[in-house]
């Protein structure tokens, strides 16, 4: 009704482009790989990029759309990864170094029998349920506590940072029985397929592409719905939303849990493709890196994080080989430049250029039009 009058429907052209890109990712690329035109390495690399894109989307859903800068997304990403990792560890069976039907590190720690909480992870469906439940519950409890006491802005960032830090300390411990420092690795099978064969890698890539497309389409609809509008209103002026009678904490909590789940799914798809998960994935730096992808791609759009995740990681793959010493400086510098000069990221460049041209026309004598000092929308 009023809603449909106020919101422009998503253009057919956009759906068409989405469908073409999705078709290319899900069908064409794997076929090219099968035909030998695209190497197995490339497929594996792109599978990783798409997982990163899922993580970036989850960051953007919180930061770009709701104004919550969470530094804990890497925690949810690795929690998902760990749940998948536990399943994969069980699938090694007796092929480990100690030839026992339990993970090597447990044998090493002197366990005679599998600890109880490990046993059900030999079922794939159980692992997948836990992959959603564990990060979901962590996000729900933390979000409930945080939003109830109206923690917002930078305080939310600092608290999520502390949460991630605490969790990584916990996972570094051996008596957590989650592999400690070394985490999980040396995987062999997933659902009966050899995890190292090109076919499995292709399959994982296809699954990742399908999940990413689904998440993208789902969120595109969600952010356009009445719910999405409230969500963006929370970002722009939370007090007005509260005074209009909406319970903003519940909106934020819902979005926080959803983005935790998206991050977790990304992590669960990531682990079988890279073959390792350890607590170093669970740091604030990793969360912040995902924030860079989002910022570089363009926050507040859904395509931005995907573009950002893929382009920054492609740049990383190149730079860490060509200039290993300078990569962190490039990354840091990129961050500063994007924040200062490109608040809308790569996706926003065409818009900025056309704005600039429009403003330039009436008063051609004033060259300094884009003022970096101009306050953007209130972020806190």
């Amino acid at each position: 009704m009023t809603h449909s009058l106020l919101v422009r429907p998503i253009a057919k052209r956009e759906w068409a482009i989405t469908a073409i890109v999705a078709f290319f990712l899900i069908v064409v690329l794997p076929l090219l790989n099968l035909g030998g035109l695209v190497s197995d390495f490339t497929i594996n690399l792109w599978g990783k990029y798409l997982c990163y894109a899922l993580l970036a989307i989850s960051v953007d859903l919180l930061w770009g759309y709701t104004g919550l800068l969470s530094l804990g997304q890497a925690l949810f990403f690795s929690l998902g990864g760990y749940m998948m990792g536990m399943y994969l560890m069980r699938m090694i069976g007796t092929m480990g170094q100690y030839k026992k039907d339990m993970p090597d590190f447990l044998v090493f720690l002197g366990w005679e029998r599998l600890p109880t909480f490990w046993t059900p992870f030999s079922s794939f469906s159980f692992a997948m349920i836990m992959m959603l439940l564990v990060p979901g519950i962590v996000a729900y409890i933390f979000g409930w506590l945080a939003f109830r006491s109206r923690v917002k802005g930078v305080y939310f960032s600092i608290l999520t940072q502390a949460l991630t830090y605490g969790a990584s300390l916990m996972f570094f411990r051996n008596d957590m029985l989650m592999g400690g420092n070394n985490g999980f690795t040396d995987f062999r099978f997933i659902l009966g397929f050899d995890i190292r064969s090109p076919g499995t890698k292709r399959g994982l890539f296809i699954v990742t592409a399908i999940v990413l497309t689904t998440v993208y389409v789902g969120l595109r609809c969600l952010t356009r719905s009445r719910f999405g509008l409230v969500q963006q209103a929370v970002r722009d002026s939370e007090n007005r939303v509260l005074f209009s009678g909406y319970s903003s904490p519940n909106f934020k909590l819902f979005i926080f849990v959803v983005s935790a789940l998206i991050g977790s799914i990304g992590g669960a798809l990531y682990v079988p493709q890279v073959g390792i998960i350890n607590p170093s994935e669970m740091t604030t730096e990793k969360s912040l890196e995902a924030v860079v992808w989002t910022a570089v791609g363009g926050r507040g759009t859904l395509i931005g994080p995907i573009v950002g995740a893929i382009s920054v990681n492609a740049l990383k793959s190149w730079a860490t080989r060509a200039y290993p010493d300078l990569w962190l400086i490039i990354l840091g510098g990129m961050f500063i430049i994007v924040v200062l000069f490109l608040p809308k990221g790569i996706v926003g460049i065409p818009g900025m250029v056309s704005d600039w041209l429009k403003k330039r026309k009436p008063r051609a004598d004033e060259s300094e039009v884009i003022s970096i000092n101009k306050p953007e929308e209130e972020a806190a």
Binding site: L145, G153, L159, Y165, M170, F335, L340
Partner: protein, 572 residues
Amino acid sequence: MNKAWFFSIMAALSFSSLSWAQEAKSVRAIIAEAVVLTEDSDAQVKLVNSLTGMTDPELEPLLDAWKGGSIYLVEGADDKYIAVTLAGDPDATKKETALRLDTKEPLKDAQGTVVRVAPARAEIAETDSSIRRAMKSLLDLSKLTAPNAKDRMLAITQMGMERDVAKLPILEERLKVETDSSVKRAIQEAIALTQLRSPDKAVRLAGCTSLAEIHPLSAKDSLESVVKEALKAGDKELLIAAKKALEAVEAHRSIVNFLGTLFRGLSLGSVLLVVAIGLAITFGLMGVINMAHGELIAVGAYTTYVVQCLFAEGLALSPFGMKLSLPGMNASGWLYEMYFVIALPMAFIMAALVGLALERGVIRFLYRRPLESLLATWGVSLVLQQLFRLVFGSNNVQVNSPSWLSDNWTINDVIFGWNRVFVIGFAILIVFGTWALLSKTPLGLLIRAVMQNRNMAACLGVRTERVNMMTFGFGSGLAGLAGAFLSQIGNVGPSLGQNYIVDAFMTVVVGGVGSLIGTVASAIGIGVVDQSLQQILGNPVLGKILVLGAIILFLQWRPAGLFATKTRSLES
């Protein structure tokens, strides 16, 4: 045999000063005399014992030489042996000059030519077990009477660890004449611990009683084994005495642990405070989230390192493939020890300069966008970390503590490290200085005005841009000071700042943003709670996790921190 030589020691102990005065022979002469009595080991023992009470520095090396086989016997003109050492100047036939042991003069034969001996052929002066034992107790004893209290302490600790019942009388003898109170205590402890080993029940009981009085921490294991033995033997009297002593020791231990934990908590709190106080200014007062704060700390630490190297041998760096070598002053002694005094202001200045550059280059564009200042400064922090790696290498660098920071006081078994005492004092000084600057100086007035209402201050003619710069520079300089201090108690490496940044933010948030007193309270609170949890749980990591959890829960109760700044505005 054992008893025999022991009594001879006792006799020697009582009369030694007398006999020494009569004969007035040098240690050298007596040993030379003893060495040649190869037939009569009893006489040798007697002579060795007669050395008791002599405080000649040559005593120990000479006895060691005898034991170690570097004293040789040469047959003299009258078929008697003469003790010699070799000068260590081998000629073509590998013969060395023989030196008389008693006079150190070269040994001459009847014709007056110097005797030369090949060590491989010469007869070594042997020692048997009774002589060696006599030597050992002689040396122990001579150490017990050393003029320096520290040396005596060392000797007593060693003797106490032996728990040799035979040495009890020696210790008791010493106890009577000992004047230094801490050495006296150590002797009492050694005696009591040794008494527990005695086969005589009355002696053991006495040991338990005196242990209950002096309750040393080291007595726990021995007392426990006595309890076990007493249980086995069904000796009730001994059991009660030992248990009583054990209780006294445990009570003392819990007091020591409590005080130690309190002290460690205070010093950890001070470290947190020093680290967080700069942040309390840039974040608390200015509202800038500076994720590069940790790297400013590292700047301070690396400055300390560079200053230290300049005081010593200098420094060779190779940033970006360039060779850069700084000459050093090659200072030593007290001048070198003073490097830290120079390093402190240098660390402040360097970090303040980096902070100023950061403020001018990045942060001034982002005052109204705190979330974005978080991101941009994180970018800066990555760049700085990598620069540290490129300039100083990715390994930790070695910063030596000056000696006036590396000792400790031990008061009643509680250890107070000087560096920790120093950080507490240092933190008090910094807090006082910051408070004075903010509330007693014109600059402080301007800072507070700008932080309360930037526009109003600008309208009244305050140059807010400049005040921002100064404030940020000051906050950064404080981070540099923190770094100089952290270099004394931990590792200095590229990721030094990352280890403290989470803690620092937590401290400021818990204390209440914008409140200096809140930062002080929360730093000390977190420090003490952290150390107590470590003590209780016996696991540092678990303690840290619990502290983080507790902070999240605490913010439920007081979302704005301990000392919240009251405001009527809706958007804080």
